[in-house]
Each structure stands twice: as structure tokens, then as C-alpha cells.
């Protein structure tokens, strides 16, 4: 590649990096977009929900051309006991109508398409390229050293969007090694099924999709969540558990996902399906406390590399897209000012603070710790609530008063009143 100079170098062709590269290229910048995979998306995994709002702020009406799978018209929450499921859901025709709220996507397809848009806009996509080092001039980042021969590249600004294992953010001195309570390991399978089976089993009309989040039995008491999302001709099924808990548990993630697939509420949904792919990825779960400084002289940090994920709402792709967009907007202003030092780039943090990203993460700042210190939300409440539903719904000649008495008795045996009141208080306080 030789010693080339660009306006911007973007590291990582995921939603954060590509939105930055796309917007900068559209503004007429010379942009190089570096990707370590064979193609954009080759290394990228998420549960699979992409949010319309954040994406359309980068590419308006993208869904008419992008390879999205299904628009999500129903969201469900399942609380699992070992042999039952208590379900809460919201389904709406307005979610099934344009402009839609969210889509299921497969990242290998979607990220390739998105990077193609950046190329159309003029960005130079260079796949199969690992960035090994940042190049410094004093305390300023001026470029990157890639694994290619003569692979030094220079630019006025480097946007680091290399994902959750951001070795570059570490090299930039932005954060120390991530700890095991700050990430969840997610494993996922793509299970193919004919579209009409998916529509029948999930009660969907053509093009509509369902997103199910699952709390309880499938994570075997560990802090975490399972999920089932419908794609056009497949299901994305998986679970994420806090790495700290997984390490301690002695359980294998592969056994966990097999256990989840065998659950009586889940197995019938998968009947006749074929596993096409098995994937694993870390999810940043540290929330507000884990967010590193987001800029250096000549450098901006975006997406998972910046730990921008709201785990409780499984929102990450929207934060990645928005941080990539705001990084691009900040860089454009820096160019106008002719100054890429922290003095100007600090506007990036301020812009994120004005957006839902840091506002939500600040509001949810106590949640990661709350969940990590209250395992009963995952071990006790789901089965107890299932038992209560079972009791009240079983018609067996007992009076309702007797049933409520039984439910209370069983509940308080396992969860003393004081514990419940304390948990509710902590939950309420955590959201304040």
C-alpha cells in the first residue's frame, strides 16, 4: 500500500466504522476502511436486531435496498422454568408498517451491503487487513501500521471501531484490559426453516418477524439472556451469559445452547430445522462504568470498542451506528476548525451525551452491578413466577383463596418478604 495519506482511516467495517466511513466519504473525504475479515461481516456476530431509526440517520430508507430479514412486529419476554414458560408480549400492526421499528439481520450479508454503500460513496475498502499498531507523532495519532507489507497508512484522524476486543483502544491507552464481569459470552446458531413454517409457528404475516428474549432456566442461574429471532428462512437462536459467571460455572457454552434448544417451550419451534452455523462473540456489558475515554489527539473510538451497549434492552447496533455517525460529524467539524486535537474532538463525547446513547447508559448505570449482585433475578424469580402461573391456571377444585395462599406460602419459603421488598427497592433505585 505504500505510505499513503488519507483524510480518515476507519478501523473495522461493522456498523460503527462503516457509518463513519460512509458519511465521511459522502462529505468528499479520502477515506480508507480497513477490515480484518475476508469480507465485511465475516467476523461480525450479533443476536440480530437492527434498529431503523439509527440506521436511517445514516442511510435514509435503507430497508428498501438493504438485505434485512424481517421487520419485527412482535416482541416477547419469556421467563423459563426447567419445563415451562411464562410469556409476556407486545404485537402491533403499527410495528408491521413502514417505517418499521426494527429488523432482524444477518451480519455477514448486512455488513457487506453497508460497506458496499461506503465504497459507492467513495471510501476505499481494504479487507483482509489487521491493524497492528497506531502510529504516533508525540502524543498525536497520525496513522496505523497494518499487517501488510509497507502497510503504514496516515491520516488526519483515525476512527477506531474494531469491536469488543479493541486491542487498538488498549494501545491508545484508552482502557486497561477488560474484566470478565464486563462482558458476556454469546453463542448463537442459525437454524434454517422454510419461511412458511416460520410464519405458522410464530403467527406472522409475510415479512413480519418476532423477537423473543428469554430469562431463566436456559442460562442455568447465570446472569444472562437467551434469544430467538426470526429471519426470512432461518432462526437466530442463542444466549449470552456473563463471562465471570460462565468461568465459575464449569459449564460449556455449547452444552448451554443444546440445553436451551431442548427446552419443551423451544424445541417445537425448531422441529425439522437444520443448524447452518455456530458462532460466538463477546458483548460489552459493563455499561456506563466501563466506557473508556472516547478520544485522543487524532483518534475517535466508536461502537463496541467504546463499550456502547445497553445489555438489558439488547441495544447495541443502534449505539454503534449513532456513535459512528457522531464520530464522522465531529471529524468534519474538526476539519473546519483545522484542529484534530482533543480540544476539538472532545465535542464527540458531548454529542454522545446529547444523544440517547450516553443518556440511556447513564440512566442504566447501576443495572450491570444490580444484576451481577442479585442472581435471584435469574435463579429464583423465573421459576417462582412460573409456579404461581401454574397454580392459578390449574383448575382442580381448590378455591382461588386457597391457591393464592399456596402461592404466597411457596413464594415466601424461597424468597422471604424482606428479600422481595429489598429487591424491588433496589430495582426501583437502580433506574433512578
Amino acid at each position: 500500500m505504500g505510505e499513503e495519506a488519507f483524510d480518515a482511516i476507519v478501523v473495522g467495517a461493522g456498523p460503527a466504522g462503516t457509518s463513519a466511513a460512509y458519511l465521511l466519504a459522502r462529505a468528499g473525504w479520502q477515506v480508507v476502511l480497513l477490515e480484518r475479515g475476508d469480507y465485511p461481516g465475516a467476523k461480525n456476530v450479533m443476536g440480530g436486531i437492527l434498529y431503523r431509526k439509527a440506521m436511517e440517520e445514516v442511510v435514509p430508507s435503507f430497508w428498501s435496498e438493504a438485505p434485512v430479514e424481517r421487520h419485527i412486529s412482535e416482541q416477547r419476554l419469556w421467563l423459563l422454568s426447567p419445563d415451562s414458560a411464562l410469556s409476556l408480549g407486545y404485537k402491533s400492526k403499527s410495528l408491521a408498517a413502514e417505517p418499521y421499528n426494527a429488523f432482524s439481520v444477518l451480519r455477514a450479508k448486512f455488513d457487506s451491503w453497508f460497506a458496499g454503500k461506503a465504497e459507492e460513496a467513495g471510501a476505499i475498502l481494504v479487507p483482509q487487513t489487521v491493524v497492528e499498531e497506531l502510529i504516533w507523532e508525540g502524543d498525536r495519532v497520525v496513522g496505523v501500521r497494518t499487517g501488510r507489507e509497507e502497510g503504514d497508512l496516515f491520516a488526519q484522524v483515525v476512527v477506531v471501531a474494531d469491536g469488543v476486543n479493541s486491542l487498538l483502544a488498549q494501545k491508545a491507552g484508552l482502557h486497561p484490559e477488560i474484566r470478565s464481569h464486563q462482558v458476556a459470552l454469546a453463542v448463537k446458531e442459525i437454524i434454517s426453516l422454510p419461511p412458511e413454517k416460520i410464519e405458522d409457528r410464530f403467527n406472522l404475516e409475510d415479512g413480519e418477524g418476532t423477537a423473543i428474549e428469554i430469562v431463566g432456566d436456559s442460562t442455568r442461574g447465570m446472569v444472562g439472556m437467551g434469544f430467538i429471532y426470526t429471519n426470512r428462512e432461518s432462526l437466530s437462536l442463542g444466549l449470552g451469559v456473563l463471562l465471570r459467571d460462565l468461568v465459575k460455572s464449569g459449564l460449556s457454552p455449547h452444552d448451554l445452547i443444546e440445553g436451551m434448544k431442548a427446552h419443551p417451550a423451544i424445541r417445537p419451534l425448531l422441529e425439522g430445522g437444520r443448524t447452518e452455523e455456530y458462532a460466538a462473540h463477546l458483548i460489552p456489558e459493563g455499561g456506563w462504568e466501563a466506557i473508556p475515554p472516547l478520544f485522543r489527539n487524532g483518534l475517535l473510538l466508536a461502537g463496541d470498542a467504546a463499550m456502547l451497549v445497553n445489555g438489558l434492552h439488547r441495544e447495541g447496533s443502534n449505539m454503534a451506528l449513532t456513535s459512528g455517525r457522531l464520530a464522522a460529524e465531529t471529524a468534519l467539524k474538526a476539519k473546519e476548525a483545522g484542529d484534530f486535537s482533543v480540544g476539538t474532538l472532545s465535542a464527540y463525547r458531548a454529542a454522545l451525551e446529547r444523544s440517547f446513547t450516553l443518556q440511556d447508559l447513564r440512566r442504566y448505570r447501576k443495572i450491570p452491578d444490580l444484576l451481577a449482585t442479585h442472581p435471584q433475578f435469574f435463579t429464583l424469580y423465573p421459576p417462582v413466577l412460573n409456579e404461581a402461573a401454574h397454580e392459578i391456571l390449574t383448575v382442580d377444585g381448590k378455591s382461588k383463596e386457597e391457591k393464592i395462599g399456596l402461592i404466597k406460602k411457596r413464594l415466601f419459603q424461597r424468597l422471604p418478604r424482606r428479600t422481595i421488598l429489598k429487591d424491588l427497592f433496589h430495582l426501583w433505585r437502580a433506574f433512578r
Partner: protein, 89 residues
């Protein structure tokens, strides 16, 4: 479905050298050896007193890098274009 069969579904382009480099001294001291269970691709296995690292099956999640209590696993990305390629992601 067995893990081996799932890994068989994936496309891997192996590098000549391992991108996962545990410090054997720490591994010998390690009691629980949790990496042999929490790694989603069971890359780490003990054969007698020797740790075998099947790096060519690595899914590049980074769990071993963070989950090893000795933080003893030197971990880098495989060379550009090498390692796993997801078709769906």
C-alpha cells in the same frame, strides 16, 4: 448436535502460527483450568501434562483472553483474511 459437527460447518482459513499463546508456566499452576470448558470451540485441551491449543478452530471471541484468571493468554487477531469466516453472522 455435537460441537465437532458444528465447527465442521464453519469456514476456517488457518494461519501457520497460532494466534493464541498461553504461558505454559501459568497453565501448569492453574487448578481449575476453566478455559477447557468455557471456550465455545473447546480450543484448549489437556493431553496428559501437555496443553493442546487447537487455534485453527478458534471463533475469535476473546473469552480466553479475558476469562483466564492469570491473564496468561497472549491473544492477537489472526493475520488478515485468516481464521473463521461467518456466512451468516
Amino acid at each position: 448436535m455435537k460441537l465437532e459437527d458444528k465447527l465442521y460447518l464453519l469456514k476456517f482459513k488457518p494461519e501457520e502460527k497460532s494466534h493464541l499463546m498461553p504461558q505454559e508456566g501459568d497453565c501448569q499452576r492453574c487448578q481449575g483450568r476453566p478455559c477447557t470448558t468455557f471456550c465455545p470451540a473447546q480450543v484448549y485441551k489437556w493431553e496428559g501434562e501437555k496443553l493442546v491449543v487447537s487455534y485453527e478452530n478458534c471463533l475469535e471471541c476473546g473469552s480466553c483472553r479475558i476469562g483466564c484468571e492469570f491473564t496468561s493468554i497472549e491473544w492477537r487477531y489472526p493475520r488478515g483474511g485468516c481464521g473463521v469466516s461467518y456466512r451468516f453472522g
